[in-house]
Structure formats: C-alpha cells, structure tokens
Symmetry: C5
Subunit: 321 residues, 5 copies
C-alpha cells in the first residue's frame, strides 16, 4: 500500500508525485524523492524496483521479510533493515522497516507494524536545513524513530524485572516468579535479535569509510549507534540478572523446603513422643503399679503435656517451629 | 557416480560431454564445465583430479569426507565444503557437498545426502544472464541451495522448543521434558557445527580480497552470509533458551517436590494426632473417668473428628493441601 | 545553575567573567575559559550552546541525561560523559557529568550528583605549569576526580563480599546471605555500567590518533585508563565470586537439609522402635506369659530403653545425631 | 638417545651421518639434515646446540619439557613444540615432541612418548618430490603425524560420552555417571591444552607472513590447521555437552528423589490410616457397642482393608505408586 | 630502604656508587646504573625521581602501590609493575616490584614482599655477555625471576585440587570439600589478577614496535610471555574445573540425601507394618478368636517377624537398604 510519494528540492517539499514519475524526478539534479510503502505487495515492489533500479537481492529480501537487521551496500545504494517492536497484549510483536537509500531517493517499506512513521516525515519537513543533507538524513530520521521506540520496551522489561525481584525473597509465588522470569528472558532475547545485529552494522555509517550519502550525517548515525549500545547494554544486564535470579530462586525454593522439613520433623517428633508414652501405658503387663494409682491418669497426661511443651520450646528456640 | 557433466558457453548449455573431454573444454576460452558427482569413489575422483588438475590435499579431503565446512584457496582454484542436513526419523543426518571451483569449471561431489541438487542446475540454466557470471555464480547457487535447506530444520527446532516450553510449567512429564531438551540441544549443536565454520569462512567471498571468479557474484555470497548469520543467531538463542529451560526445570522439580513434602507433612500430622488421641484413651489406667461415661466413645470420636477437621482446614488455608 | 565561569591565560586565572562574554574570550589567543554548571536547565544550556557553538546532538544528550559514559568527537571539540557514583543509604545513586571540551574552553555540567568538583578547580589553579596544557588537562582533572570516587565504592563492595563470605559456611542466615549476594550483584552491575563503556572509550585519548587538545596530556589519560581497568578487573572478580558464592550457598543449603533429614530419620527410628515394642506388649492375646511376670514391666521398660540407647549410640557414631 | 641422523640431497637420502659431521653437511648447499632424538639428555642436546647453533632459550625449553605447544621464531629458525597424546590404562599421557627447524635441517626431540615417528621418515623418503620442499615439509609431516594421533583419542571421548548419555535417563548408576562425566571432562581439558595453543600458533605458518622454509608447504600447514580446528570444535562440543549432562543429571537425581518421596508418602499414609483405625478400636471406653458385635472384628478388618485398597488405587492412579 | 646502587660498564660491575652520583654516571656513555630499593619511602623515591628524572605519574603509582601489573612507556623510559606472590600460612600474599627502566638505568622498588631479588643481580653479574644487552636485559631478569616464582604456587593449587578431587566422590567431608574449593577459587582469582594483565602487557616487549632498550632482548621477553601464557592456561583450567567440581558436589549431596531418604523410607515402612499388626491385635473386640488360641501370641510374633524379614529382603534387593 502506497502511503506517500513526495519529491523534495533544496530541503523543501516540491509536490506529491505519481509513482510513474519517480524515475523522471530522481534523474533531475538537486531533487530527491521519498516514498513510503506499507505491507507492500509483490507488484508494488516490482514497480518500485523498476523506478528506482533496485537490486534484485534487496527486493527479494524485502518481499520475504523476517530478515535480520542489516545495512547492505549495493553499489551506490544502501539496503537497510530495521526491526520495529511493539508490545501487544504483553507479547512482543516484531515488524520490520526495509529502507532502500540512493543518492537522491529513499524508499521505506514497513511490514507487520502498527507504528506509523508519518510523524518522522512531518518533523523532517519542518527542518529544511536538515533535510537538505538529503537521503542520508532521512535514513537517519527513520532509523532514529524506530530505535527510539525500543526504549519504552526496555523500560517495561526493567519494571517487570524489578517487580519480580521484589517478590523473589518472599516465601510465595515462586512458581509464578520463575515463569515470569522465563517469559521475560524470552522477550529480552527477541529484542536483542532486533538490536545486536543493527549495532554491529551501524558502525559502517560513521567513522571509517562511510557511504557517500551518509557522510554529512555521520554524527547523527553515531547518535543512533550510541542509543543502540545503551539498549544493548541494558538488555545484557537484564539477561544476566535473570540468570542470577533463577539461580537464587532455586536456592530460595530449597531453603523453603528445608524449613518445611524442619517443621515437619519437629511436629512428628512431638507426636511420636506422645504416642510412645501412650503406647507404654497401654501395655497389658499385670504389674504396672502406676496404672492403679488414684491420680495415675492425670499425672500421666501432665507428664505427656510437659514433655511435649519442653520439646516445643526447644524446637522453637532452635528455629524449627 | 557421475550425475552430470555439461559444458556451457556464454551462459548457455553447450552439450553433455564425456568425462575424458573435460580438460579439452576447459582449455577453450569462454567455455565452462560443470560436473556433478554423487558418493564418488576413489577412481572417479582420481579421473577428475587429472582432468581438472585438482590439488592433492583437496582431493584427499573429499575422499575422506567428514570435513568441517570450509572454503580453501589452492592457487587460483577454490575448494569448498558445505554440510547438507536432513531430518531422518527425528535424527539429524549430516552429509556433505564438496565443491571444486576453478575459473571455468565447477565440480561438485555430494556424499551421504539424499538431497538432489539437480533443481539448482535446472534453475540456473533458465537464467543465462546469471550463469554468465561463470563458476562463481554456480558456486553461489549450490551453497545457497544447501543453506536454504537448513531453514526448515531450524524451524523444526523452534517448534520443538515451543512444544516443550508449553509443558515446562505443568506438573507432569518433567522427565520427558528434560530428555527432549537434551536431545534438542544435541541436534542444535550438530547443526551449529555445519553452520558456524561456514559463516566464518564465507566472509572471504565478499568484501575485502575476493577470489577472481567470485568477484562478480559478491553480493550473492553476502546474501548467503546473511542467511547463515540468521540461522546461527537463531541457533544461539535456542541453545541459550535450552540452558535456561533446564535450569527452570530443575526449579520446577524442586517446587513440585516441596509441595509433595508439604502435603505429606499435613496428612501425617492429621493421622499422628488421631493416633495419639486413640493411644491416650487406649491406656490401661484404672481411674480414667471418661472411659466409663455413657457417651464417652461418641464424644471421643467427635473430638477426634473435630480436631482433624480443624487441622485440615488450617492446612488447606496455608496452601499445604 | 552556574557555579563558575572563569577565564585563564598562560595557566593563570584571569578573572571571573559574565556568561555573555564567553564567546569574546575564547576568540582571543592563549585564553581559555572554564565554565561549571550544575543541574543545568534548558535555557542555561541554550545560552552555552550559542556562546561555545556546541553541537546540537551533544547538547541534546546533556539535556536528556541518562547517557552511557562516552567520549565523542564533534569536529574539533569533544563531548565527554562520565558517570558519578554515590552511596546514599546503602543504595548506589548514579549522576553524570557532561563535559564539552574545545581547544580553549571546558564546559562541565553536573547532574544529579551531590559531589562537588570545586576542589578540582582549586587544585588545578595551584599548578599553573599543568594548567598550561590547556583544556585537555582540565578534562583529565575532571575525569580523574570522578573516577577516583569509584574506588571507595569498590572497596565497600569488597568489604561487603568478605562479610558475606565469612558467613556463607555457617549453618545460619542463608536466606540473608543470598539476598545480600543478590543485592551486591546488582550494585556491581550498576557500577560496571559506569566503568566499562568509559574504559572502552578512553583509549581514544592516549596512544593512536588523539584529539589535538589531549595530545600533551596523553600520559595522564593513560593513568585514568589504568584506574578504570583496575576497577573493572575488581568488579569482574567480585561478579564471578558472587556467582560461585550463590552456587556454593545452594550446596550448603542442600547439605544442611540433608543433615536435618538424617537427624529426623534417626529420631523417628528410635521412637518407631519404642512404639512397636509397646504395641506388641499392648496386644490382647490371652497367653502372653511375660505379661504375668512379676518384673515383666520394668524388664520391658529396660529392654526398650536399652534398645533406644543402642540405636542412639549407633546413630551418634554414624554422625546422624 | 639418538634415533636417526640422516643427510638428504634433492629429496633423496644421501647417507646416515655421524653427529659430529652435521655442521659440515648443513653448510653445503642443497643438502639438508634430519636428526631424531628420543628422551634426549643434557649432553646430547648440548652437542646438537653446537652443531646446529640452536638458540639458548629454545634448548632450555626442550630440556625442561612440559612446554605449551608453540611455534617460535628465533631469527631464521623455528622452534616448535607439539604435544603427543597417548591413552594408557584409560589415562591420558602427555608427551611432547620439540622440533628445531632451520633452512636445511630438522631436529626432532621426542620426550615421554611411546609413539615412534619413524613411519613419518619412511613415508617421506618414499616421496622425494615432496621431500624436496625441504625442512618445512618435514616439519609438516611430523606435525601432521602428531595431530593425526589426536583423532582416535577424540573418537574415544565421543564414544565414552555416548555411553554415558545412554544411561543418563535411566534411574540407576547416577553416581557412576557423574563420576565418568567428571573424568571425561578432565581428559577433554587435558587434550584441549595440547590442541588450542597449537591452533592459535599454526596460523603463523600459512597465509600472511610465513617463515621462509615453510612458504612452499603453506597449503599443508593449512591442512593441519584444519585438522586442529576440527578437533578443537569437537572438544568444545563435548565440553559443552558434559556441562549440560551434569546439569541434567542433577535434575534426574532430584526427580528420582521426588518419586521416592511420593511413594514413601503413599505407603506411610496407608499404614497411618490402618494404625489410626486400630488405635480407635483399641481404646478402652466401656460403651463401644461395635466391640460386642459378633462379627465386629471381621467387619473391622474388612473396613480397614477396603480403606487401604481405596487409598492404594487412588495413589496408583495419581502415579504415586 | 636502599639495597644496592651499582654502576656497570660493558657488562661488568664498575663500583657501588652513592645515590647522589647517579645522575653523573648515567650521563656517561656506555655506563649503566642499577638501583634496588625495598619498601621505599616518599623521600627516597623523591631523590630517585630527581636523579633519574622519573615521570611524576609513575612515581606516584610506585608510592601508592596496589597497582595492576602493567608496562607503561613514558617517553624513552618504561615503568613496569609486576606482582610478587608468596604463600604465607596458606594465604596468598601479594607484593609488587616497580621497575623504572631507561636507556642506561634500572631502578627496582620492591614492596610488601619477603622475596629477595639479590640472586638475580648475582646471576646476571656472572654473565657479562648478557648484561651487555643493557637495561632491557636486567628488566627481563627481574621479570623472569618474579614470574618463575608463580610456578610453585600454581603447582600447589593443582595439588590442592587433586586432593579435593580424590574426596569429591566419597560420601563424607562434602562441607569441607566445598569450602576448600571455594578457598582455592579465591586464590586462583588472586593469582590471575597478577598474571592476566601482565600477559596482555608483555606483548609490547617482543614482536611489533618494541621500546629501544628491549629490542635486543626480545626473545627473552617472549620467553616470559610464554611462561605467563602457560600459567594463565593452567589457572583457567583450574577455575573451570572448580566450577564443575562445585556442580558435581551438589549432585553428590543430592544423591547422598536421596539415599538417606530411601533408607529412612524402608525402615519407616518396616516399623509401620509392625505397629499396624500390633495395633490390630491390640483392638478390644470381644470376638477375636486368635486371641484365645494357645499359641496365638508366638504365631503372631512369628508372622510379624516374617513380614518384616520379607520387607527387609525386598528393600535390600531394591538397593534401599
């Protein structure tokens, strides 16, 4: 689905143009075309491929989708894949935005993502001095917008982890805790797949040998790099902390179990003593003088109660009860 | 076993040629020979070695088989080993395809693999403009076909992992779960051995100093690189997740055990109390007035039942029963 | 909030100058301006941006805060972010100091940090021969001061770890131990986030291609590098040790539990034997000769006591009691 | 102990020569001397040092033994240490072969190794066209022979691991399993010490800047490199698998224990119920009408049996028995 | 404390010289001064700083102590920190030796170390042909001596580990084992801090760009490098093995516990059966014919004994007893 197809000159919007005129406009000097697609179909991409002379392999990747984030050079043009991430019903949904960048064009194709990048266009159009940097700056603006949307996800992860941590040393909800830790780990791994390869790739766009259209925006790409590195660092810490938390959780489970065992031991001991006493006085020997005593029974009961009480206090002091 | 032996010119099939004529054809300019063997025997390879002047060490490797995936340069020619992977009866079967590539020839020798690469030849012959790139493109087509067959295996791994995950937090089948996790890990490791060394090696075929016959197909090799990186990333995640799942599983086992222990403790306590009561009234003291009461027995039974009930409710509330 | 705004010449303080004059002073040769802000607001930074012609992205970073430590070049100027670390109520509080460095100016902006860097200025002013190195040396002095304040934190971590270690093999406080280990790990990870990225970045300021204003202070930056490497190494060891300690703790818990189990088994056995004996002599068979014996009862009691004593000594010897 | 001392010319054996003539022969052009020692003593090595002008540090290393595998350049000569590995009584025995290589000599000194390298000499002498490559090729032949002997060891490790794996999910021999895993891990680590440093070092002998005498044998050294990489990869997998197996084993132990606990709980419950019933009817109340019934006893027995049976079937269905 | 202050010429000792003359001697050509300090005080180092024109930062490091091992270049001079390691009362004591090296001087300052390096001086003086290499060789001799003293420590670690391993599969001393493993790990980590940074740093002294005074001793520094790599490899293996041993230990504890549980279950079952039988015949039903039988009691006892025996044998066969 075509969302926008606009020609720009010297940083200012020239006009919305029909798709068929794209190749004419990008042939003109100082003009630059920015097209946005959404969930593009084969024939739409085929038209674009012809208008922009895109490389076959890049178009194939964009069609198939489910690519790793990457930045590939095809001659003078770039093919960039950035993952979009959304939280829908507590589940991470990955989409992707495929960006074809040439000297004087940008074609962005968004797939499986509810996020709109129209704000990026609006904001960029309001700053002609930046838009004058050309396609490289538009690429930056798109990447920056996509990466900025990772931050709330990471914040949500950190909040979730903190919530779990608050409950990890309580003697309840261990099963739920561990399940939440496991779920969180999976989400972290998913986001990491969106972040880490892009972090590796984006170094190509600043410092060292940089594609021509990105040279004047290098410092902006370094900024995106920095954001990605920050996110990646936080994800690594969360991952590491989850690992420790699962280990700790196992220790807590063992400790809790140990305590139940001790309490069980204590009560079992008390009742076993009681039963043993009763058993002794329930024996049928003929000559058991205490059985004939007037106050034998209450004394026996008192003796049993006292013993139990002594045991109880001893266990209490030992921390078993 | 010889499968095909075909000469090509300017991207078009010239003719099936006899093995003995290979050296004549590759001496002609613009001509290029593509031979396919299957489970080749020593003498077949010996003939090929002579016709193509292959390097002794490469032929030795092809004969012995069980090589790591690799890409080796011998002067102007390449020796490439790619693992083929098939799922037979829920077991991973590794084969390999050894590819000798020169300026104007490709010799592929498939071993221990039921997968045919004849589709690759057919598809390539239908695209003369690509086949014109020469032996480098054929190498790409073969590697791409082999690597594409890793994807369904990886998908099967992910499906298997998801199945296990659905059952990991249930209180059953823990033993089966852990066994399946272990099996899955082994399969992942096996596939990783096919993927990781090739991922390291294939960087030689794009970017940097690239062998002559691969220069015009660089972007295609980068595409294979990208596929391998994607598979490798997924395998790493599966491996990491299996590790966590085994840890989590241990915690779940400990938790389940803890719950059994608690329940055991609770029932044991109830019956111990019952037995202790019965023991007390079974003592043989002469003066136990309640034993003479008319309703002593039913009252005693009622007292015992009430105590048990109270305990039962208390344990229920504590979540022990 | 402006703290200081001072112009220097040949290493000596010239005068406190108003903010509006900054751009005039830095236009003069041999003069150099050092401004310190604290929790700067948007408009303060906007003024600074104009006076010093700071790069938009750097100012944005300084405004938003929560940056990773980093050292970025913007043309001839540097933007440096260093984390400040304070221990408040046993919690690590991270602040940051953002330093903009040009050929003849230093602008430091401290955020969320109770630590003052005025001592740095005082000490530096007392050493004109060092201050003559210019803005690079001031950058060093600020970084050195910030990094030096990491050391007491690391020492506190080590002390805490030692305290925990002393109690890890005792049969008590396991729950508290593990909780403290977990807390410590989190603090270590937080400090590591302040240290590790800076350690990676600071290599740019000594050896290799170094920004012009830092060349004459290279050896000083190497010294800071060395301090960071020392801290990082210690943090890694603490982290590793915590991991082992948690593992060991789990073993200790299992061992303790095992011992409780053994003791329980032993006492249960003793009382079970007692009860079984009593049960036998409590049977109602008519012909049980020992029941009629004169000393049947005491003998029975003695037998029971002896058996229990034998068991007790046997268990004692086996280390179960 | 001197084993061989032979001079070669143009790839053919010239003659066995006395040690004292070595320096004369290596002074001649096109001649090349190959000496083999076994468990060399100080004086033997001293003679060799003089004849070949070996570097003091290299000789010292050879004398002391227990070196890491390494490849060191001393001016124009090489000093190579390769570990030999033998399986004696199920124990890994490490020896080493120290190889001094110059432009026209090879001195190999074998220590603590029952393996003979005479086959290497015999095979090499049969291939004069290869031996013509000179000392570099002899070095290759020796390294290749040593490394080839790692393969059966690795195969034995894999077989052992498979044997253990077959038994890991059985409910027996857990103690033996874990001990075997531990032993295997130790052996793997030992072999890894022989393999990994050599793998790092051998890169110096192919690709990049290669010592003069090895240039013409580069592809052979790459082959050894490839073998080492294969072994190293397999060792890493075994190591990783052992780690997982130990983890899994712990889970299995916990599961088994849990099952014993459940069974214990079940039987304990059944007998506790029995005892409680008996205790109730063993009470001494005067008015317990059922005690006077004609068929009270058999009915009571039947009630007790029925209850136990019901419990038994319930536990059976719950999988506890 | 000054230990030695000696001037050398052409590899021979010239004379012990007063500290004040140092600067005169090092101004002369071909002369070279070697000073050794022990636990140097501020004023001693200040004098040295003046005589040798040492760099302020290096002197500061030497004064403060507790440095990481490192090799730093200050202009034409080197500042080297090597850790000394001693075993005092089963505790590792770290000291350090700070070495300042210039073209024609070596100043070594030993701190917190009982080890004397006078043997190094004596040995070096006996080999004028080596001492002629100048200050670089003295640096090597000192580093070599310090590193050689790591070996017995590492050997002690390995011996300790072997001792623990022998007892790890025994059913006793688990608590002591794990404590010893933990202690060993701490010592290993401490030594690693002395080894690993030096291993990284020493690469600067051989191969690549080497400081002028070390060029002629490069092969000697490579030898030290090799020693450090060997120690580091061994420490890594010990560390890895300790990790596995702790894991294994946990499994052994769980296994032992499981066995205690089984035994407990078995004995509990036997006595529960006994008690249940006794309970049944202790019931007070009027019509229990077996109670009246002449041989009821002995038969009952026999039945009980038989049942217990059967159970005992069954449990024995199941391996529970």
């Amino acid at each position: 689905m075509l969302i926008n197809c606009v020609a720009y000159q010297h940083g200012h919007k020239l006009a919305d143009i029909p798709v068929a005129d794209i190749s004419d406009h990008i042939a003109e000097p100082d003009t630059f075309v920015w097209v946005a697609l959404k969930d593009a179909k084969n024939d739409e991409l085929a038209v674009m491929q012809e208008e922009f002379s895109l490389h076959e392999l890049a178009v194939e990747d964009a069609l198939r989708g489910h690519q790793r984030p990457k930045i590939e050079e095809y001659g003078d043009s770039l093919f960039v894949v950035v993952k979009t991430v959304e939280m829908v019903d507590d589940e991470l949904v990955l989409g992707e935005i495929d960006i074809f960048v040439g000297d004087n064009y940008v074609l962005s194709s968004r797939q499986n993502s509810a996020q709109s990048f129209m704000g990026v266009r609006a904001r960029t159009e309001r700053e002609p001095h930046l838009l004058q940097h050309g396609s490289g700056f538009v690429l930056y603006a798109l990447m920056d917008a996509a990466v900025d949307r990772y931050f709330p996800i990471v914040d949500a992860f950190e909040a979730e982890l903190e919530q779990i941590e608050e409950r990890i040393f309580l003697q309840e909800a261990q099963r739920a805790n561990i399940q939440r830790l496991y779920e969180l780990k999976r989400k972290v791994m998913t986001l990491r797949h969106a972040v880490a390869p892009l972090l590796d790739a984006i170094g190509k766009l600043h410092g060292g040998r940089v594609p021509a259209m990105c040279i004047s925006s290098q410092e902006y790409f370094r900024d995106v790099h920095d954001h990605l590195a920050r996110i990646n660092g936080t994800l690594d810490t969360i991952r590491d902390t989850i690992g420790t938390a699962i280990q700790v959780n196992l220790s807590m489970v063992a400790l809790d179990e140990g305590e139940v065992n001790k309490r069980l031991a204590a009560w079992a001991a008390i009742f076993a003593v009681l039963t043993a006493f009763a058993g002794i006085w329930g024996m049928n020997f003929e000559f058991m003088p205490e059985l004939k005593w007037r106050y034998g029974y209450p004394v026996a009961l008192a003796a049993m109660a006292t013993t139990c009480l002594l045991l109880y206090r001893r266990f209490k002091r030992a921390g078993w009860l």
